[in-house]
Symmetry: C2
Subunit: 693 residues, 2 copies
């Protein structure tokens, strides 16, 4: 080892140089210095990269240290609007979705809105009470995935995760769609631009979350309270007006019935309306965000949320009943109600603004929870490892990206139409509800402590009701889109299982075994013995393991026998440099040339005799003008003959300054590297040659 390696420049020497971005922070007892990368260390070197980085920094902000990761604790008064946004905002689309189904049966269908709403309100109460139990049992946060996995097993856990993830994706799509609908109702001129506006909104959510927006502060509490106030004020004024009419409901406009009233229709209306429950689980996910005693505060907040949700839902339904409002394609029901209560003035604008704002906040809740579920899945090796990575803003950037892309696809695919998104929505949410609460029943039964029967009963009721809604939603809406949700859940579970299997196999293959560790990299581990760890290159069609030997068993440095192969296309400076590098390794070297014809081969041989520096040359004639294939086959056959040799392929590669110029040069080196990757015991070395343009 070069002895001067420890000698690092002093701080004074460092400052003027822009290259040196490493600061030695500590030298512990004369050993090698500990080096710390400054924030500039992640700077990409190219010009294009600089622009991209500047843009990224402008949108996302400067990187944050890992130590900046602290939990900001929320008071109940702040937590209530922030964590309830998802649930409360459902009032903006749940009742409307129910009515949209009922009006298919004309005015007669609307008569069933009150009993169905009653059933939904009971469901809210039951599920809410059930989640109160979860908070007590999982004071560190009981997401559906965690509860289902711990109590029901791996597969139910994955099913719950799949349900949750489709729920979050649709939550973003539906909330944005409903929010844009609220805006469109107030400003009808914007209606043709529904899709682009929604895409921009998702883009803003993406950028904000990549910056690492925290759920905290008055900024996030304000829209929640504004919405609560707006709904209550609207209901109060509306009911006062209705009282003036002696509580005689305004008859709804006469509507033609396109379908008769049937049990199926009523069940459909019920399952559509029960989307008003989505988001009810948010508080139980985020208990550590409360001030101590966390679970107690969280439970109190949940109680308040349920009360508010019930009151707002009931108020909206009552107002719809008294005002005789029916859904139409142009204006949301909430906007119609606000018009009736307030006219078209400032108060109306306040209702619409608050609605749009809380729906945006509801979509943001999904941005907090979706990447967390992916993180948990990745931690248990059920999702690609890249979801484990925290971005430099301490947000799970990859999960945020995946959510944004899928939500955008769904939103655009359904043209931002809330009504057609609803059928997909209920399945995922109630799947997660059911499994989470069923898991809680098992939890209480396993613990069997004080009051366990009562808790299990409450959770059991919630689970049963959720399961009923789930079945109703899946069956009645199957043809309208619920099938897609079912397919996605099934595919997701299968993918998660396959990913886990892949990682298990890789872990077994790459882990250092106890025997191996005795003499590092020497003894072949018993587990991988006799198993074909290598994939034989040109023989992709033959997946059978070769039984003769584990070709890629570790060897100690002294056991490795080298042969260096230097493919040479033309005799130029890049090739000469590669040859010099190859020769400098002081191992046997063979140069390899692929020639389109024998005449060309002969000519190259003559050149080689003069300039080849006495290295042996092999020539392969390739009458089909291909270069990569013959080299790969040459190396594969060489390996077959001499499996003891480690072949090092030295490739010269012209590196241009501008990335846009790279298409001017042939891509043989990268193509060759890709083609050689699957081959056992072939090491590829790239010797760069930089041209000044």
């Amino acid at each position: 080892v070069d002895p001067s390696l420890g000698a690092y420049p002093t701080a004074a020497e460092l400052r003027p140089s822009r290259i040196f971005r490493l600061v030695p922070v500590a030298r512990r007892d004369g050993e090698l210095p500990l080096i710390e990368a400054t924030s500039a260390a992640e700077a990409p070197p190219s010009g294009f990269g600089h622009v991209a980085r500047a843009l990224r920094r402008a949108v996302v902000g400067p990187p944050l240290r890992s130590t900046a990761l602290v939990h900001e604790r929320m008071r109940k008064l702040v937590a209530l609007p922030v964590l309830s946004a998802d649930a409360l905002s459902s009032v903006a689309y749940g009742p409307e979705a129910m009515l949209a189904v009922l009006v298919l049966a004309g005015t007669a269908g609307l008569r069933y809105s009150l009993p169905i709403s009653g059933a939904i309100a009971f469901l809210m109460l039951a599920v809410g009470v059930s989640y109160r139990q979860t908070i007590r049992a999982y004071p560190h946060g009981g997401g559906s995935y965690t509860v289902a996995t711990e109590n029901l097993g791996r597969i139910p856990g994955l099913v719950a995760a799949a349900g949750l993830m489709t729920d979050y994706i649709l939550d973003v799509a539906v909330s944005v769609a409903a929010g844009v609908a609220a805006i469109d109702s107030a400003i009808p001129a914007l209606r043709p631009d529904t899709v682009p506006i929604g895409v921009v909104v998702i883009g803003v959510l993406l950028a904000g979350n990549l910056r690492g927006v925290r759920q905290a502060g008055a900024m996030f509490a304000a829209p929640g309270y504004a919405f609560i106030i707006a709904i209550f004020a609207m209901t109060a004024v509306g009911l006062f007006q209705a009282a003036g009419r002696g509580f005689h409901p305004t008859p709804p406009p006469a509507l033609p019935a396109t379908r008769g009233i049937s049990v199926l229709l009523l069940l459909k209306a019920f399952s559509s309306g029960s989307t008003a429950l989505t988001g009810i689980e948010a508080i139980s996910n985020d208990i550590p965000a409360f001030k101590p005693v966390e679970w107690r505060n969280a439970r109190a907040t949940l109680t308040w949320m349920i009360v508010l949700l019930l009151a707002m839902f009931a108020g909206t339904i009552a107002l719809i009943h008294f005002d005789g409002v029916v859904p139409n394609g142009r204006e949301t029901v909430l906007s119609q109600l606000a018009h009736r209560s307030f006219g078209s003035g400032l108060q109306y604008a306040f209702v619409q603004t608050a609605t749009a704002a809380i729906l945006l906040l509801a979509a943001n809740t999904a941005y907090n929870d979706f990447p967390r579920v992916l993180f948990l899945l990745a931690r248990s090796c059920h999702a690609p490892r890249l979801f484990l990575r925290m971005g430099d803003r301490l947000a799970f950037s990859n999960g945020i990206l995946v959510l944004s892309i899928t939500a955008t696809v769904v939103y655009v695919g359904f043209s931002g139409n809330t009504e057609s998104l609803i059928p997909l929505f209920a399945v995922g949410a109630f799947l997660a509800f059911t499994l989470s609460q069923a898991g809680m029943v098992v939890h209480w039964w396993r613990q069997r402590d004080h009051h366990w029967r009562q808790s299990a009963l409450l959770n059991g009721t919630g689970a049963t009701l959720s399961a009923i809604v789930l079945v109703i939603a899946a069956v009645t809406k199957f043809t309208q889109g619920a099938w897609a949700a079912v397919v996605v859940v099934v595919l997701f579970v299968l993918a998660a299982l396959r990913i886990r299997r892949h990682y298990d196999i890789v872990r077994t293959a790459t882990a250092l075994q106890p025997q191996t560790m005795e003499i590092p990299g020497h003894v072949v581990s018993p587990r991988s013995e006799g198993r074909d760890v290598s994939s034989t290159a040109t023989d992709g069609a033959d997946p059978h393991p070769r039984s003769d030997t584990d070709e890629e068993a570790e060897e100690t440095p002294v056991e490795i026998r080298h042969l260096v192969i230097a493919p040479v296309a033309v005799l130029d400076r890049p090739a000469m440099r590669a040859l010099a590098y190859a020769a400098s390794l002081q191992q046997p070297v063979v140069a390899l040339h692929v020639s389109p014809s024998e005449a060309e081969a002969e000519r190259f041989r003559c050149y080689w005799d003069t300039w080849g520096d006495h290295l042996p040359l092999e020539v392969v004639v390739s009458p089909y003008r291909v270069v990569v294939g013959p080299i790969v086959n040459y190396l594969a056959s060489l390996h077959q003959q001499r499996p003891d040799l480690t072949l090092t392929v030295i490739l010269p590669e012209i590196v241009v300054r501008r990335r846009t110029h790279s298409f001017l040069h042939n891509r043989t080196a990268p193509r060759l590297r890709r083609a050689l990757r699957p081959l056992a015991k072939i090491v590829v070395t790239t010797v760069p040659f930089h041209v000044p343009c």
Copy 2:
């Protein structure tokens, strides 16, 4: 060198193995054997690759040897329809394009169709005679690019090439559009699918040309003759009918004039109609395809073509005049004429089929010529080198692909509407005509042999008329799309010049200089001395050359001083294998670890002390959780301190069997390789570790 390398297996040993696809073909006087790759040598190894290859083979056919490249010579009777397809087929859209402009001025405008057609016919004659001169002067093929470059210089040559290439792209788009219009006219039900049908047609042309369709044989001659017969029969019947009416023209339907008659309108109509000339240069490009004496046969064929073109153009115009036909959006003019002459029976179907077939053939002409122009440009370093490559079917696959993609984009962008494509068309074609014929004038003046004045006069007339049409087309249609053609030509010329400059710089930088060749790779060549051949990595913002030393000057093998860096993320078998490889090179080795925190760093140190095989370890703390940046900066600073060392970075890389699984593993190795590419004297070595899934 391993002495057993010369010992190749015998043929008997070879047969059972599917890996060994190399056949030793000759051992010349006891030296190393000459190896020939069989056609299987280009087989990609992976399973996906196998499927892709099978598909490719099914569409494109088996590879062809270079020796299969022979020119099939054509008799005049075959060459006439094959090489005239482009020109003659213009009759299908030229007159219609002219009328489409005239009808804007209502019925009154149509009166000008005869004089304008006369002018176009005169133009045909002049340009045709002019090209007769070119054939005599360039008996080996005088494309516009060749003629303009040789006689007028590099820039005019590039302008001509740009004109030609836009011409060919638009030729495909217009011919396909007109062909599909002929089909749509016969089967109106297909009209809504104009765009998809056209895209499929371009796809068929692409596949056919990737197979290496040769312009030969009766198969390609038939549609030409069929079209000639169809037009003549239609004209004869139509004129006979007109004679029955005493040659009194049927008055065209009364049309409202949207514009008054103006010189601008008439010039527009003229330039639209002169698209009937496109393709007139095809024969002069392809003289070697004729039987000897090539130029004489080619000239006779050109004469015949001009005569036929004139006759068909005149006949069509006369028929339009007598039948009072005007363009409408639903049916082509030719289809209307055929309906008048033949009714709707089999004869009508024959006319439409022949029209569609010859238009397809005309598009195919562009497929022959476009890649050839790109090849000539690439040969003179004005286009990326990849256009030099002949595919394994001996076709210039890359040029064919570029033509297909751009033509598809243009076709889809204009919704397959012939009329809106026409304004772009004339500019490119007449640009090439003008420069080619102007080049011929210079050619004759330079030679000044027998009759040179007469030849120069004929070419001069052609050049002048073409230039006039060019100016008319560019000016009158500027706002309708001609500006796009002008912009494309200018951008193309600029790009071609920049590409040439890039290649010139690269050639200077990579060429072995005379001094350099004395001792291979030792002496720095005088040309590159003092020039900054290296690009300094992390310092992309500093483009100033460093004057101290040419860092990347060649060294002889003994001069190269190595330091091997082995980045290690975790201690597993892939890392151990990479470390063993690094140590086996018997050069100084340093292991490098990037840790997110000091605590983690400490923990890794402990592991290292136990299992690190006594290699020295450097730890970089990266609190921003990035890995690639700190390694790059570490290496850059190391290089700055010790510019004499060649740093070899050894990267372990997990290779999965299925490409689809690769997203499950982090891409640190490829990202690091990309980030290290711009750094001087850093060689990257990848040690693969294959996992069994």
